[in-house]
């Protein structure tokens, strides 16, 4: 096997040194009754070439960007990825390193993540950002844990029903063991969160909303912040489409305490939903509360600037059962990737792309409108929006899905049972005007 370097002679020489008679003999400290009696029932080893054809066969069974036009976002967005990004992020010095425990020979990863932390706080108007979390859903769950920790006496949080339904599920799963009460904030007619259930409550540890929310609508963060303040609750926001903040007012500017977000749009392939990039960022106040790694700037013995993992006394490997989070490995290489993307796009690029995404979505919405779809929510959106489909759409959708390799929108009924015939559509810079026109023509 080409990955295993040991020749028969190597094995014999090494066994001699260790004082064993055979490879099996190495395991004699394992009680016999623990040892497996038969061989593993796994497929025979494939050659590299058999693997190639098997995998290409599997891959070809999936609808995928760029071949198929999938007009869905909902937490995973098709965006162009500049070719320099996989090339650079794939360099073995980055990709095959472990967590930078030895900073002297990990300065590349460390400076790269430090720059990522910097650019993310710049994008979101916050003060500090961690080196990454798994994804938006898990980052958001951690943010709510912080709220509960900060407000020790309270055990109640409020979640907008327009937070990604999967994220709400994650939060529920994370918080369940502590018997925490979750107040569900319904949505208003305009497609934004309805805070009225909070009117009578004053024991909320944290309020979380997503913006743009799951319907694509842009929430009014300043107003929400005022409500949170009036309740003395931590105000937490999340987002699944990072690119929106090339255009929208940043959560930091709106006074948000903690921001959890998904960074997949920043140069990371969709990959059937993962690995993405969990972003966790906040105002300075929470610097010691955010979970996971930070890279900090310091100096070496000779006074040269360098970087280290820092503030690790918050973390599990030091605090063990007293740590606020258990996170260890995170999504570092994707953070580096997002950093490369932000550096390449830059101030103007990110703005132009964000504006273009919005333009495309507005165009698509108008086209659908012309084709008989209605738009139930009036609040402006970024690059996703909800429409109510005319009769017969489902069948047409099935047909183009099969024959044209197009996937027109995501049915919302599954997530919001009352929203029968409602679909969430997404348009990004990867869809040309013609793509959109063709799709609309097919489902009209």
């Amino acid at each position: 096997m080409r990955y295993l370097p040991h020749t028969e002679q190597d094995i014999q020489e090494m066994l001699k040194k260790t004082g064993h008679t055979s490879l099996d003999d190495l395991f004699k400290t394992i009680p016999a009754q623990c040892q497996l009696k038969k061989e593993l029932d796994l497929p025979e080893a494939l050659t590299e070439w058999e693997l190639d054809s098997h995998m290409e066969e599997l891959a070809s069974l999936n609808a995928a960007f760029p071949k198929q036009k999938i007009f869905i976002g909902a937490g995973s967005y098709p965006h162009y990825i500049p070719s320099l990004i996989p090339y650079i992020a794939g360099r073995s010095e980055f990709a095959t390193a472990y967590t930078p425990y030895q900073p002297e020979i990990s300065q590349g990863t460390l400076q790269g993540i430090y720059e990522f932390q910097t650019m993310i706080t710049e994008l979101l108007g916050t003060d500090v950002a961690t080196a990454s979390h798994y994804d938006c859903g898990t980052a958001l769950a951690e943010a709510l844990l912080i709220a509960l920790k900060k407000k020790k006496k309270l055990n109640k949080i409020a979640l907008s029903s327009l937070i990604h339904p999967h994220h709400r599920q994650i939060i529920k799963t994370y918080l369940d063991p502590r018997g925490c009460e979750i107040v569900d904030l319904p949505f208003k007619d305009d497609g934004t969160t309805d805070f009225s259930p909070l009117d009578a409550m004053d024991d909320i540890a944290g309020i979380a909303i997503q913006s743009p929310n799951f319907f694509g609508c842009i929430e009014n963060l300043e107003q929400a912040k005022a409500i949170a303040d009036s309740k003395k609750a931590l105000f937490i926001t999340s987002f699944t489409e990072c690119l929106a903040y090339g255009l929208l007012k940043s959560p930091g500017k709106c006074g948000v305490d903690l921001v959890a977000g998904e960074g997949q749009s920043l140069g990371i392939p969709q990959s059937f939903g993962g690995p993405g990039l969990g972003i966790l960022t906040s105002s300075k106040k929470y610097i010691r509360d955010l979970p996971g790694r930070y890279v900090g700037r310091t100096k070496d013995k000779n006074g040269e600037t360098g970087f280290v993992l820092t503030l690790s006394t918050r973390e599990q490997h030091i605090r063990r059962e007293k740590a606020g989070s258990n996170i260890c490995s995170n999504n570092g290489l994707n953070a580096l990737t997002a950093g490369i993307y932000l550096a390449a796009a830059g101030k103007n690029g990110i703005r132009a792309l964000a504006q273009l995404n919005h333009d495309k979505a507005v165009f698509l919405e108008k086209e659908l409108h012309k084709a008989g779809f209605t738009t139930p929510f009036s609040q402006p959106f970024f690059n996703e929006f909800v429409v109510k489909a005319p009769k017969g759409f489902k069948e047409k959708r099935d047909a183009v899905k099969k024959n044209k390799g197009m996937v027109p929108g995501l049915a919302l009924e599954k997530y919001y049972p009352l929203l029968k015939d409602h679909y969430l559509f997404c348009a990004t810079e990867v869809f040309s005007k013609k793509d959109m026109e063709t799709m609309v023509r097919e489902v009209k």
Binding site: P5, I11, I30, P31, L40, L42, A45, L51, L58, A59, L61, N62, A63, S76, Y80, F94, A95, Y98, T99, Q102, E104, S106, G112, E115, E122, L123, D135, I170, K172, D176, P177, I218, G246, L248, K249, P269, Q270, F272, G273, G274, G296, K299, N302, L311, R320, N326, C328, S329, N330, N331, G332, A343, A344, G346, N348, I350, R351, D359, P380, K401
Partner: protein
């Protein structure tokens, strides 16, 4: 420093991105505007974020230089204990990058995702077979996330039994994520000590096990690289009192095809695909931490689960007793593709061989360095061995000094100061993909360092000497954190 790989060469400084920024540059292509521009209400928009402005080449060169300051697994031996830094095959990267995988949308209709679902279904089967457990979820994003998933399942199990428990037994040699994960489930950690030969005794478990204990978290082989020989008895003790046994599978690389955790009393086990299954660690992640469970715990696995109906694959979105959902979608799919490719490339036969050679390499190092460094537990080890700096103490040399000096010899240092149970531990995990020659060079380097500790301790104290920066001031970094530029 004869016969060592570490030498000094030209590398290049590189300023921060923002110091290289010049107004008006942009390093990417902006697609052409083929639809009308629509301006949002200015109330909603902000100023463009002050990101650096660079040309494409600026960006390429910036990160190329940064990369050259890093030591990767492809640069040299990386015997980081507990991390299983084995070769990351290049073909795995090719597989994950196929457009049909990399461009797949997680919410496209099921019939448009059959290839992705089939791959995941197969991988679940493989992992179940490897562990002798019943069912697998691929959702957890990393090892610690797998722990949390498993512990939540245990929590749900006890809930379902009608009596929630309050404690969890955790050996002193456990990884920090274990107690931290248990805490997240509301369990109080009850720490127990390893016996004098580095493994747990049934007695120490029996002593603390009662009906308030939800279970035990065990790493086997443990973090001292030793097989927990009493595992079956311990499991019985725990099971007898209605508890469950959580297995931390970080060290699975020692026992593939040799021991099936499900057959020795483990109820739930997490994998680190970024360790045992060769997916690159990316300087911190993304990893992937599936868990396998037995029948008792299967009902509690997170949703969605993957089912095979005839020749099609489907996602089951809800099960009555599920703990819920652990990640937005189905797990770190791109990482799963690589692990699946790895398993298929080795098959059962070479996975077993992998474990055999990993254990051979570790024992070989242990035997070769036993006269030079102190072996706190002098027993046959599994895939890693743990030394300490005790022999060097008299020269005022610490584990940190030794590890920094290893850098000068062109190797990545081992894991240090973990497990905590051993003072000044030096935890060496060579993995099976290091050849005898490389290992011999590593041994020679460590022997020389042991001599230097005697004859020239200052050279260890001031190490590393060849790296871009010397030892960094971690105290200052933490005291006055500078976390952004």
């Amino acid at each position: 420093m004869e016969n060592t790989s570490g030498i000094s060469g030209l590398i290049l400084k590189e300023d921060f991105l923002w110091n290289k920024s010049r107004k008006g540059r942009c390093g990417i292509s902006i697609p052409k505007q083929d639809v009308k521009q629509s301006l949002l209400d200015p109330e909603l928009t902000g100023d463009a974020p002050e990101l650096p402005e660079l040309s494409e080449f600026d960006v390429v060169r910036h990160y190329t230089r940064l990369s050259q300051w890093n030591f990767g697994l492809d640069s040299g031996m990386y015997p980081l204990g507990s991390c299983t830094m084995k070769y990351n095959p290049k073909t795995n990267e090719v597989q994950a990058a196929r457009p049909g995988f990399a461009g797949a949308h997680p919410l496209a209709d099921e019939e448009l995702c059959q290839g992705a679902l089939e791959m995941m279904y197969n991988l679940e089967q493989f992992l179940a077979e490897l562990t002798g457990l019943e069912a697998v979820t691929l959702q957890p994003a990393a090892g610690a996330h797998g722990e949390l998933t498993g512990m939540l399942a245990i929590h749900a199990y006890h809930e379902k039994q009608g009596h929630q428990r309050s404690k969890i037994i955790i050996p002193d040699s456990a990884h920090g994520t274990n107690p931290a994960s248990a805490t997240l489930c509301g369990y109080k950690s009850v720490n127990i000590l390893s016996g004098k030969d580095g493994i747990l005794t049934p007695e120490s478990v029996a002593e603390v096990m009662d009906e308030e204990v939800a279970g035990i978290m065990i790493t086997n082989p443990n973090t001292l690289g030793l097989f927990e020989e009493n595992i079956k008895e311990i499991a019985d003790i725990v099971h007898d009192k209605g508890g469950l046994v959580y297995g931390d599978g970080a060290n699975l690389n020692a026992i593939m095809g040799i021991v099936k955790p499900g057959e020795i009393g483990i109820d739930v086990l997490h994998f680190n695909l970024h360790k045992t299954f060769s997916t690159p660690h990316g300087g911190g992640g993304p990893g992937s931490g599936p868990i396998a469970v037995n029948k008792k715990l299967e009902p509690f696995l997170p949703v969605p689960r993957i089912a095979k109906n005839g020749s099609t694959y489907a996602l089951i979105q809800d099960t009555p007793d599920t703990i819920g959902r652990m990640l937005t979608f189905y797990g770190h799919f791109g990482v799963l593709v690589k692990a699946y490719s790895y398993i298929l490339s080795l098959g059962g036969k070479y996975l077993k061989k992998t474990s055999q050679l990993a254990v051979l390499n570790a024992n070989y190092i242990k035997e070769s360095l036993r006269d030079d460094f102190f072996l706190p537990y002098d027993r046959p080890c599994m895939h890693e061995c743990v030394f300490t700096d005790k022999n060097q103490e008299k020269n005022n040399i610490t584990t940190l000094d030794i590890s920094k000096r290893i850098i000068d010899y062109g190797f990545h240092p081992p894991t240090i100061y973990f497990p905590l149970v051993v003072h000044g531990s030096i935890m060496i995990e060579p993995t099976e993909t290091e050849s005898k020659e490389t290992i011999d060079e590593f041994i020679a380097a460590l022997k020389q360092i042991a001599k230097e500790a005697e004859n020239n301790p200052e050279i260890l104290k001031s190490a590393p000497h060849l790296s871009k920066v010397s030892r960094l001031d971690e105290v200052a970094a933490a005291r006055k954190p500078m976390l952004r530029g």
